[in-house]
């Protein structure tokens, strides 16, 4: 029986990093995710697993430390919140361009600008559509519980190394701050130098006589070479869309109405579905767990038999645009959201649902 421990989502990220053989964490304090680095510093993993933990001078620096560590084939990560992630976008783009694996945790807060320190999902477009300049994609996974925070660290690195691509765990202040029981899985050791050479033959591990020297770069001055690289990246993204889509469904078997929501919003929508079901309204929920790749096909399939759908988000309808693209006009798609750090209640969602569907 695996051990269960009560902890915050942010703490789960830190504990999971240590227990899953992460080599390095580089971060900068920002609310509402500072517990990640605080927990790591308290746990002193450098004395146990040898994991490096370093407080950088800025988010710009921490993401570039991640770039350096990832270049060495190490499992390295950072965490931040919205304004800090904006600063990291340069580094994220460079890592996409250099095809470096890493995990970035974004515990979103209200924006724009300094905004609020309360939860938000306002950075969906920033992270899912890009994350820095250039024609690239992050792999984006959206946790909805402290357990997800724990599990997604290891899953994130698996995806990051499989595709040599940055992975963003797109959380929000609710998931980061909320305390829940988290089941601990057995410890995984850090990769040995031998394993790194095998798993990441491209890494800068020091040039031995038997191979050519490795270069980690995102630079190309030749348009044709750059275009060829962009094509290669997009072939990789197509493969990711083919293989890695993950979502969960709640009460969709006989549903006539479908909510779409990710992260903390999906949990509130589950409660809204329960209320509607108790009133005899056959509502269901689809929660995208991967935001890129987005579950287009599954939403399209479900939309064919829905009277309507509604995207529920802590923003002004950013994911709703992707939902509408997936639905392809098969049914009306509504939206309800709160912003600025405010959160809807299940009752509020139910009321908005009824308003949209003209149900008294």
């Amino acid at each position: 029986m695996a051990e269960k421990v009560l902890m915050k989502g942010n703490e789960a990220i830190a504990i999971s990093a240590i227990r899953n053989g992460v080599d390095g964490y580089f971060g900068y304090p920002i609310t509402p995710q500072s517990e990640v680095m605080e927990t790591l510093m308290k746990e002193k993993p450098w004395e146990t697993t040898g994991m490096v933990v370093l407080q950088a001078e800025s988010e710009v620096s921490s993401i570039n430390m991640v770039y350096g560590g990832a270049s060495c084939g190490k499992k390295v990560m950072t965490s931040s919140s919205s304004p800090g992630v904006s600063l990291m976008c340069e580094g994220i783009s460079y890592m996409a361009g250099a095809e470096l694996p890493c995990v970035i945790v974004d515990v979103m807060r209200g924006g724009p600008g300094l905004g609020t320190i309360q939860p938000s999902q306002g950075d969906y477009n920033q992270i899912v559509k890009g994350g820095g300049h250039g024609d690239d994609h992050n792999i984006v996974i959206a946790p909805a519980s402290a357990q997800d925070m724990y599990d997604f660290v290891d899953w994130g690195f698996e995806l990051a190394f499989k595709y040599r691509n940055p992975v963003v765990i797109l959380a929000d202040g609710v998931i980061g701050q909320m305390m829940e029981k988290v089941e601990m899985h057995p410890m995984k050791p850090r990769m040995t130098d031998e394993e790194i050479r095998e798993k990441a033959p491209w890494a800068t591990t020091g040039k031995p006589s038997w191979r050519n020297y490795n270069i980690i770069t995102s630079l190309s001055l030749d348009s044709d070479i750059q275009e060829e690289f962009n094509r290669k990246l997009h072939a990789k993204y197509a493969l990711i869309e083919e293989n890695e889509v993950k979502y969960s469904e709640y009460m969709t078997e006989d549903a006539e109405y479908l909510f779409t929501a990710f992260g903390c919003s999906s949990r509130i929508c589950e409660a809204a579905v329960d209320i509607l079901r108790s009133e005899g309204i056959r509502a269901g929920l689809l929660r995208p767990i991967t935001l890129f790749p987005f579950p287009h096909k599954e939403i399209k399939r479900l939309a064919a038999r829905m009277k309507s759908m509604m995207s529920i988000e802590l923003n002004f309808g950013q994911m709703a645009e992707d939902v509408r693209l997936a639905v392809e006009g098969q049914c009306p798609v509504g939206f309800y959201g709160r912003q600025g750090g405010n959160i809807f209640t299940p009752e509020e969602v139910v009321a908005e649902f009824k308003k949209f569907n003209n149900i008294q």
Binding site: L54, S58, N214
Partner: protein, 255 residues
């Protein structure tokens, strides 16, 4: 004694170092970068640390440094090389890690990264090429551009009121407790280049002692940007740059 008697393999006293690749350097004729690359390649070769060295190249003319020295390289975003080096050295403490940065990269956009890498005492080597100008983008003002110096963004000469003062970043970094060895060198003459090589070697050796960051500034020329011939540029550097940026050791905690 005729030429054929001398031209024998056993009589070779100097040749292109083995660790320089055969790629033709993209630098302008007479550019200091090539000379500094060569000295670094010689030091790595002589120390026998090719398989233990990781170089980090910047944004600027030397962005392509990775094409010229036969070691593993990371190419950093503009100014961020010390952050990459920090993680690389901490995660791979048995490696020799150096950054190669120009004045725009290190003393302008990357000031936070270099200051904090120095402040933390990262056990890395920083090679800082100071030619007082942005070479790659076409000769704009750099943080180290001298007062009165003409560049494409100071076409009437750098004016302190309009453009601020040149920054002596090397002296600033020497003030930080995390730095072990700070020196300023040049490579325009053979004696200067020999001294610079010794300084680079010392910096690499210090970086494995766990005593802090080693920093080698090379006052350099950009003859294209300065609009002088390579030889005239070297003379101009001696006459003008050295006044503001005098060569010599600034700090050595083991002395």
């Amino acid at each position: 004694m005729n030429i054929e008697d001398i031209k024998k393999p056993e009589n070779i006293v100097y040749r292109k170092p083995a660790l320089l690749t055969d790629n033709i350097m993209h630098y302008c004729p007479g550019c200091s970068h090539g000379t500094v690359h060569k000295l670094i390649a010689e030091v790595i070769d002589e120390m026998g640390i090719q398989d233990k060295t990781i170089g980090i190249s910047p944004v600027g003319c030397s962005v392509f440094a990775y094409n010229y020295i036969d070691i593993d390289w990371q190419e950093a975003a503009h100014g961020r090389a010390p952050a990459l080096a920090t993680a690389t050295k901490r995660l791979c403490p048995d490696k020799y890690v150096f950054t190669y940065q120009g004045d725009g990269d290190l003393a302008s956009i990357g000031t936070a990264e270099i200051i904090h890498a120095c402040s933390r005492g990262e056990n890395i080597v920083v090679i800082f090429i100071n030619n007082g100008i942005y070479g790659m983008t076409g000769g704009q003002m750099a943080p180290t551009t001298l007062l009165g110096m003409k560049t494409s963004t100071t076409p009437y000469g750098r004016d302190a009121k309009l453009n601020g003062f040149p920054i002596k970043i090397t002296e600033m970094l020497a003030e930080l407790d995390g730095t072990a060895y700070i020196t300023r060198q040049s490579v325009h003459t053979a004696p200067a280049a020999r001294k610079a090589k010794n300084a680079i070697r010392k910096a690499f050796e210090y970086s494995s002692k766990g005593i802090g960051l080693s920093f080698v500034e090379i006052v350099a020329t950009c003859n294209s940007g300065w609009k002088l011939s390579p030889v005239e540029a070297n003379r101009w550097m001696e006459e003008h740059m050295f006044e503001k940026y005098p060569p010599g050791d600034i700090k050595d905690i083991l002395k």
